[in-house]
């Protein structure tokens, strides 16, 4: 459907997009996830042909966006970060213009506009001037413009920004509905949104693709370990001694609880597959340290995201000699992710 090969975009000395490659399959929702300024919008602008890449190529339905721009653009509907609206037009005029611009056959225009307006629920605003609409409605008009003509790929840059919670849910449902017939790529820096809507997540940080997988796999794999929080009555040094006896534990950290001096908060990290809850229970029981609480933590997509994006931020901030270590660490990480 869409092939992105070794995309690089340079602004002077600044690398906005650094060697991103991925393919997009039909009928799925893809989510671009990344902190602000990670290169999400730039990548989308390149895919849609608004700006050209410094290196690399984009192939949409077999058409290279640079060699056959019109054929390639025909199969894309795009909603940029700021909806491209003409404020002095009414909603109806605007959608008509957009339909003509997309070369939709005259006979279909009215029917299609009606359908799309129903879809994004703006029928009652069709004769209003766009400049008089609220931000949420403007966003919907932009979305209608992107869907119009039912292109095979719909690209949405932060489609839910500025909407109220009810509208966000509506738009998300709409996007899910779209994926039955269309391929959707959306970007967001809101994790819950991506994990709720997308079939596939591409995490971008500092212009690099740091991970790409389904949301479930990402939260499973990137952690690679179990984390458990335990509250035990006792003292720190004793607990440390005890825990060292358990071989399965990779890492642990004991701290006196803030609430009560006699209680120790322990966080334990183990391999993914092992379950040491029983072992800890008996160990503590034998040594007369009552367990007050035990909770295993599941790494959410949020943790994965922070882990992945923070690491690459450190690369930028640190000096060159540190960078080598970080690169090695990142290589490990990539391995983990690709598993």
């Amino acid at each position: 459907m869409i092939e992105v090969n070794h995309l690089v975009k340079r602004y002077g000395d600044h690398l906005a997009v650094n060697d991103i490659s991925f393919t997009v399959e039909k009928g799925q929702i893809y989510g671009f996830l990344g902190p602000n300024g990670a290169g999400k919008s730039t990548t989308m602008n390149i895919i849609t042909g608004y700006i050209a890449s410094t290196e690399g190529e984009i192939i949409i339905n077999g058409h290279n966006i640079l060699d056959e721009p019109e054929a390639a653009k025909k199969s894309i509907g795009y909603l940029p970060e700021q909806p491209p609206l003409y404020f002095d037009m009414t909603v109806m005029e605007y959608l008509k213009f957009s339909a003509e611009l997309k070369k939709i056959p005259k006979a279909d225009i009215t029917r299609m506009i009606d359908e799309v307006m129903k879809l994004v629920d703006i029928e009652d605003k069709q004769n209003k001037l766009i400049k008089n609409l609220s931000k949420g409605y403007k966003q919907r008009v932009g979305l209608a413009q992107a869907i119009l003509g039912y292109p095979e790929v719909i690209i949405l840059d932060e489609p839910t920004v500025g909407l109220d919670p009810k509208q966000i849910i509506e738009i998300r449902d709409l996007i899910k509905g779209l994926s039955e017939k269309h391929t959707v790529i959306l970007s967001s820096h809101i994790l819950s949104e991506v994990s709720a809507v997308c079939d596939y997540v591409l995490i971008i940080s500092d212009g690099k693709l740091v991970a790409s997988d389904t949301p479930d796999n990402l939260s499973k794999l990137a952690s690679g370990s179990n984390v458990m929080d335990i509250m035990v009555k006792g003292n720190v040094s004793k607990m440390e001694q005890l825990l060292q006896k358990i071989e399965e534990i990779d890492e642990f950290n004991c701290q006196i609880s803030e609430k009560d001096e006699k209680i120790v908060d322990i966080s334990i990290k183990t391999k993914d597959s092992v379950d040491i809850r029983e072992k800890i229970f008996y160990l503590c029981a034998q040594n007369e340290c009552p367990i007050l609480g035990m909770q295993s933590k599941i790494l959410s997509l949020e943790d994965v995201f922070l882990e992945l994006t923070q690491n690459s931020e450190e690369i930028v901030e640190d000096n060159v000699d540190v960078e080598v270590d970080m690169e090695a660490e990142k290589a490990n990480q990539d391995e983990e992710v690709s598993k």
């Binding site: 849609t48 003409y86 611009l101």
Partner: protein, 287 residues
């Protein structure tokens, strides 16, 4: 292209700008028409038209300032450039819409010779040839305005730039007369121009090698040509500057001659500046 043409035409006719342009053009030509042809009874309509060409200095920047600059500022260019239309269609659609707006006052002005005819003998072919020249001059000026609107995202800057360039073209024959006709003056002027070219090349490519090669080669060629045949340079700078004197080509039309060189000249100006506007948009994608 049709969609953009229609949208642009509509937006000019629903906002103030189109009407201001039409109003201003009609008021100024109307005043001169009344003074020259009606009150003084002068039978040659072309003279009135040649006297009012200064209106383009103000009317054209007003008309063209927003045509591309505003799209960029409101980010609506994202919609146009990601739609299945080519950049040339976008520019052409917009340009034709502007020319259509300009046709409105031109058609009304076209009635003036008929009014004059009611009171005496007026050569209609001569009047309408003059009007054709006047129309083509406006079209050329609008193309320049479209290009300058494409280089910035501020309407004000676009308008000021258009005014400066059009004003420069308007007074260029005056500037040309400052230079002496001697070969030496032209050689010096060309030398400065070559240096300027080298500086521009350096600013654009950041390559001091290319810039200095171009600069040196240019200067050497000028020096050699001057030594071999200095008569070539006599009045040469005036000839060069005359190329930019857009309104001078109107004179033959005013005299009632359908001047093919004039037509070709105006159409070339239109082509060159629309091409530049296209390039300036395409270039922005790459930087």
């Amino acid at each position: 292209m049709k969609a953009i043409y229609k949208k642009e035409l509509k937006s000019y006719l629903t906002s103030m700008i189109g009407y201001i342009f039409i109003f201003f053009t009609l008021v100024m030509t109307g005043i001169y028409f009344t003074a020259y042809n009606l009150q003084s009874g002068y039978p040659i309509f072309g003279v009135t038209l040649s006297a009012v060409t200064f209106i383009f200095l103000i009317a054209v920047p007003i008309l063209t300032m927003r045509v591309l600059a505003e799209e960029r500022k409101q980010k609506t260019d994202q919609m146009l450039l990601t739609a299945p239309v080519s950049v040339s269609d976008i520019i052409l659609g917009k340009y034709l819409a502007l020319v259509t707006i300009y046709c409105i006052p031109t058609v009304i002005i076209g009635l003036y010779p008929l009014i004059m005819r009611m009171f005496g003998t007026v050569s209609l072919p001569m009047s309408y040839t003059a009007l054709l020249g006047f129309f083509l001059l406006g079209c050329a000026d609008i193309a320049i305005g479209v290009f300058l609107s494409s280089v910035t995202e501020s309407q004000v800057i676009a308008a000021v730039l258009s005014f400066i360039v059009l004003f420069g073209c308007y007074v260029i024959s005056g500037i040309a007369s400052f230079f002496s006709q001697t070969a030496m003056a032209s050689v010096l002027a060309f030398g400065v121009l070559v240096l300027l070219l080298a500086v521009i090349i350096y600013a654009m490519t950041k390559s001091s090698f290319v810039a200095s090669v171009v600069g040196l080669a240019g200067e050497i060629i000028i020096a050699v040509v001057y030594m071999i045949k200095s008569s070539l340079f006599e009045g040469a700078i005036q000839k060069l500057l005359e190329i930019f004197n857009i309104s001078s080509h109107l004179t033959t039309f005013i005299d009632g001659m359908l001047d093919l060189t004039g037509v070709v000249y105006f159409l070339s100006i239109v082509t060159v500046f629309l091409f530049l506007a296209m390039q300036s948009i395409v270039k922005r994608r790459w930087s």
